[in-house]
Every structure is written in structure tokens, then in C-alpha cells.
Symmetry: C2
């Protein structure tokens, strides 16, 4: 969600519009938050697999279930949340638990037992006792003693503690020395996009990352500040009057009026140039447009060679649902296409370039006019 | 929740115990998180009222509803979440919305209309246009024109933007000059315990704080890392064998065995001295005990004159619920009593003193023995 963008437009009686406020906001805020966070983490992984492992640390039951769905939409390959898998038909994934290993007399017996149950999908958790001294050697031994002689392969190992860069490099060498080149290494343990980015920069030999609490709560930034504001009121004659809220904080001043939201794409690269908020009945020029930063209106830029897309799509009309809900695959693909249309610069993990969300000149003028009018007219006895 | 403390003990078949893991963890983690955060915020407010205003930014539907309940348990006076109020019979509170004010031709008319509808509970939101130039003067005018002549008082005003210390001090003077000494000032706008603490240190004239996103998501620390680990397995003969998980990270090494959890209180002050984790069948000395830090076992202290309380209470026995759920009032009172039993030093907002959670010597010895045994025995071909 971009700051100050009319993401959703609701038109209705004031009571109806008020009643849906809180549920709409919390749904849109949370799902946007987790989808965005997942996308950042996937981005940091540079093509490696991200798995969602956060249910036990989610902020409540539907945060866990819906959050896992958003994680998949944001680009995760699968989730450990079996209920999300059941409800939304997304891939469910996971490995062995520490408790499974602990109830056996020793780690080797536990691994062997698991390999017999899951010979085609054998991913062994190697840090219950000592990753390099027992976990990895026992995994290799089970591959050699049981899996390979029976025509199977060791699919993977999972690191869950210790220094993941060091351990993964050492484990890779041990696995390769045993001829297990195809055995994947996955890792978990309080990961987030920054840690993943750093691990990969250091040459960590990790093929898949399981991300828990930092994804499902968007821990580094657990709030999206989406708001729901009245922008216009219709009088008895069908006339739509723009309304404004001033506030003592500049960023809390609303954009008045019934509006449309457009996105401009460069025709050559198909990348998004800027978003543009205009009044509902404005005609948007199709070949050349001067856009400007509404906070610093002297910063202006003329754009050409663009394609215009109106972003709002109707969902309810006169109380009737007119929108066909896409499948989860369509939603994943849609999200990926949208992300692809953004320049890498605005998707950078740290200090990304700002994506432009500009106001039309007419809207900007209206906003300033209403600010001036209300500054005066609300003062008692000013008339 | 204290680190490494057996907060809940579950005994059952391994499959049953596994099935409840995720739901138990997420319920306990989230409710502990929000109750703790609420308590910190209430603590920072030095006796002033805290209201929970976060539903629209909660991480999902039941985070909003259950989180608001936890906020009340943690010491908040009320919540804006009407569903929580309905389901749990807790006080619901709120003020006028900006949208209500905006649909009127001017702020004065809006305030007057609201005063007529809520003459006994008239709290006016003053920042829609300009707090000091119109919001506060219009509030005073409505009190003088309508409320006072009709035998009512202006109950309060709410600040929602701008510098809350400056604005509240100015507003207080304006209200007092108009004789509205009993008009309370409430404030909201991305508040948390640090901001509230600083505002009060600066002499802000605020009687009540509405706290939204930072409370309902515990934004500064949105995760409690509670875990669920197997600690013992019963063999066919009723023998309970302790189990351990080592991990590459010291803090992820589990405390083995079936255990009890005790809290020691100083008999004179009734303040909690330390928690103490012991094996289930250990006898805890009643008059003198040497406790020590399990991470730095040379740090030892002998305690006397204590009262021992066993913290676990049975909830289910053989699958039957044996616990009578307390009322919300009882839960609020219980939480307050528990907080009162902690020294202020461990409740300090910044860099609190660490509360001690110690292991019994027997448990500590068992842990070290199992660490040593498993370090060796898990290595392939070590036998």
C-alpha cells in the first residue's frame, strides 16, 4: 500500500460505510502487511525457497491461518500450517520435530525410523545434539545404510541453531564428500530478510529457509497504518461535495473528493512510473503529463510514452458482489506480475527509492482551497 | 512469561500432546504478549487512564477481539472494540469520529449536534481543523451555549495529532480559563509506553490515553518466543525418563525431566524473590535455600524467611476440565495482584532488573549429566 493512496473506495450511506470500517481496515492492513513482508523475504533469498513456519508465534488463530495464505501469495513456496493448506489448497511442508528424535534411544535410530516412513521425502533435523558431530554424520549414515541401498535418496537436512553460514558450508562439504550432492540444506532459527541476505552474501550453502515469527508478525514493522476517511458527502440533489480533515500532522491531512486512482507504465519497459490520484471526472491526458510531488510541488517531471491503468475494480455494486474471486494460483501470479512491474530500486531491502504517488493538479488545487477555507471558517465567530 | 520456565505442563500420549502444540503456543504467546504490553503502558501512565483503541490495526479478527480482552486484563480501563465488550462484558469506550464532524457544515454545528445526543458523555475530538484555533474554542462554546445552560458539563476533549504535550498544556489553560476545570483531556496518536512516559515527564496535561496499534500488536516487541518441548517420556513400566535437546544455541537447550515450578515470596514484604524449577519429586526446603544462576552457577545466594507457592494449577485431568474459569473481574484482580508482588525494579520500562528463574541443584546436575552423555553417545560408531 502506498501512502495516501485511495486503495479502496466505499460509497454508501454513512451508517453502512461506518459499520464496515474496522473489519475492512484490519483485513486489508494485515493481509497487505504479511504479503509485503513475505515478498521482501522472498526477494532477499535470491531465488532460493522460502517456507512459512510461523503459526505458533502468530498473533492469534486467524493471523496464523490467513497470514500463512498471505505468505504464499507473497511468494513463499509452502507453509507448515496444515489448516491453511486444507482451507486454501496451498502446499504444506515441514520436517521432523525435535521431539520425534528425542523419544528414540539415539539420533541414528530416530533418523532410520523416519527414513523408513518417509523414504521419498526424508529431510532430517540435525541439531538436536550436535550438528556437525552427530546430526550430519547420522544423516549420511542413514542415507548409506538404508536410503541408497533401497533406491532412495536423502532429500535434505535442516539446520535449526548455531551459525547457519558456517554450519551450512561445513555440512555441504560433508554431504558432497559422501556423494550426496543432491541433498538440499534448509535452515531455520529466527530468520528474516536481513539475516537471509547476509547469510547469502557470506556464501551460506542453504537451499531453503524456514521463516517463522519474523514473517507471520512482520516483526520488524508489525503495523501498516492504513486508514479509512470520509472524503465526500452527497447532498439531496446528487451533488458530491468534497470534504477534508486537516489535522495537526501534515501526513494526516486527507485528500478530498471522490477520486480515481491510476498507474502509469512506461510503454517500453512495462515498469510502473508513478501512481496518480485524480478527481473522479477528470480526463487524464494520454500522451504527456506533468506530475509533481504533492509534499514538494516544485519538484515536477513531465512523463511521456506511458500506458494508463485504472486500478480500482468494482467488488460490490448496490450491495451485490460483482467480483469473481480469483483462485489462489491466479492471486499468486497476479502478485508476482505486480511485483515484476516495479523497478528493483523501489524493492531494495534497505533505503528503497520512493515510489511516486502524485495528485492531479485539480485535486491538489482543491485540497489547498479546502485547507484555506477551513482554516478560517471553523474558528468561532469568524463569520 | 519468564525464560525457560515450564509455564504449562502437558502429560499425555505423544500424538495428543503434539496435536495441541500449535494452538496452545499461539494462544499463550499472544495473550501473554498483549497483557504484558498493556501492563507496561498502564505502568507508564502513572495512574492515568489507558484505553485500548487498536482493532483496525490488529493482526486479524481474533487478534482484535482477544487482544482487547488482554488489554483490559493488563490494566486498561476500556476498549473501543464493541465486540469484545459484548463477548466479555468489559467497558466499551470511545469518542466522536472525524467523519461525524466532517459531514456538518462546520465544526461548531457538529459539536452541538453531538452534545445534544450525548449530553452526559460529551467528549469532543478537537483536531479535525485546528486544535487550538477552532477545536478547543468550539468545544468551550458548545459547553457555554448548550451544555451548561441545560445542566450538563463538557466531559472531555480528545487530541489526536500534533504535539500532545504542548497542545494539552495550552488546551488545559483555555478550558480552565472558561471554568471547565472538570473537563478531562484525552489523547491518542501512535502512543506507546515510551511516548506516554516522556509526555508525562514534560508535564503534559493529559488525563487519559487512547493507545492503538502499538498496544494491540505489541509493536516494539511483537513476538513472545514461548516454546513447547518434550522433557520426559514414560516407558512401559511407568518409569519417567528425562529427555534433553542440546541445540547449538545455549538458550535453546531444554531443561530435562518432569518438573514443578515454585515461586518464593519474602514473608515480610510479600514480594516475589525468585522462581525455582525443581524435579517433580524433589522436596523443597522450607526455611533456607541456596539458589544460583543456571547460566553462571558460581553466582549463588542463600534465601531465608520465604513463603513457597507452587505455580501450576490443574486445568485438565484425564481429559476432564477441572478448572473453574474465573470471571473477567477476577482475572483483572489476579493480574493486578501478581504485578503487585513484583518489585518495581523488575517492572522498570527500560533496562529492568532481571527476575531470577533458577534451577534446583538436582535438576542442574541432571541437565549437565544428560548434556555430557548425549554429546558422546549420539556420535556414530561412538559405542
Amino acid at each position: 500500500m502506498f501512502k495516501n493512496e485511495p486503495f479502496l473506495t466505499i460509497r454508501g450511506s454513512i451508517i453502512d460505510a461506518q459499520l464496515v470500517e474496522t473489519l475492512l481496515l484490519l483485513s486489508v492492513n494485515y493481509s497487505t502487511l504479511i504479503t509485503t513482508k513475505a515478498s521482501r523475504i522472498v526477494n532477499a533469498a535470491r531465488g532460493r525457497t522460502i517456507l512459512e513456519f510461523g503459526a505458533r508465534r502468530a498473533q492469534g488463530y486467524d493471523a496464523a491461518v490467513e497470514g500463512a495464505r498471505c505468505a504464499i501469495i507473497g511468494g513463499c513456496f509452502g507453509t507448515s500450517n496444515t489448516l491453511t493448506g486444507f482451507q486454501y489448497d496451498v502446499p504444506v511442508t515441514g520436517t521432523i520435530a525435535h521431539s520425534y528424535i528425542q523419544v528414540f534411544e539415539n539420533e541414528y535410530d530416530a533418523f532410520l525410523s523416519y527414513a523408513k516412513v518417509q523414504p521419498n521425502n526424508c529431510i532430517l533435523l540435525v541439531d538436536t545434539y550436535n550438528t556437525l558431530k552427530s546430526g550430519v554424520p547420522n544423516s549420511i549414515k542413514v542415507a548409506q545404510d538404508y536410503l541408497i541401498p533401497n533406491g532412495y535418496r536423502l532429500k535434505g537436512i535442516r539446520l535449526d541453531s548455531g551459525d547457519l553460514a558456517y554450519l551450512s558450508k561445513r555440512a555441504r562439504i560433508m554431504l558432497d564428500d559422501a556423494g550426496l550432492f543432491d541433498c538440499k540444506i534448509s535452515a531455520s532459527n529466527s530468520l528474516n530478510e536481513d539475516v537471509i541476505d547476509d547469510l547469502l552474501t557470506q556464501g551460506a550453502q542453504i537451499d531453503a529457509f524456514g521463516v517463522g515469527e519474523n514473517l507471520i508478525t512482520s516483526a520488524s514493522s508489525p503495523v501498516i497504518g492504513g486508514v479509512y476517511k470520509i472524503v465526500a458527502a452527497e447532498d439531496g440533489h446528487g451533488e458530491i461535495n468534497p470534504l477534508i480533515k486537516l489535522s495537526e500532522n501534515v501526513e494526516k491531512v486527507t485528500n478530498p473528493g471522490y477520486k480515481r486512482l491510476y498507474r502509469f507504465y512506461d510503454k517500453d519497459t512495462n515498469k510502473a512510473i508513478a501512481d496518480y490520484i485524480a478527481l473522479y471526472n477528470e480526463v487524464v491526458p494520454e500522451d504527456k503529463l506533468e506530475i509533481f510531488d504533492p509534499i514538494a510541488p516544485w519538484k515536477r517531471k513531465t512523463i511521456h510514452n506511458y500506458r494508463i491503468r485504472e486500478l480500482h475494480v468494482p467488488i460490490f455494486k448496490q450491495g451485490e458482489l460483482v467480483y469473481k474471486e480469483p483462485t489462489i494460483e491466479e492471486t499468486i501470479q497476479y502478485t508476482q506480475n505486480e511485483l515484476d512491474s516495479l523497478w528493483d530500486e523501489v524493492k531494495r531491502l534497505k533505503f528503497p527509492h520512493q515510489y511516486y504517488v502524485d495528485l492531479s493538479q485539480q485535486l491538489f488545487d482543491l485540497k489547498n482551497k479546502l485547507i484555506e477555507e477551513n482554516r478560517i471558517k471553523q474558528i468561532p465567530n469568524s463569520k
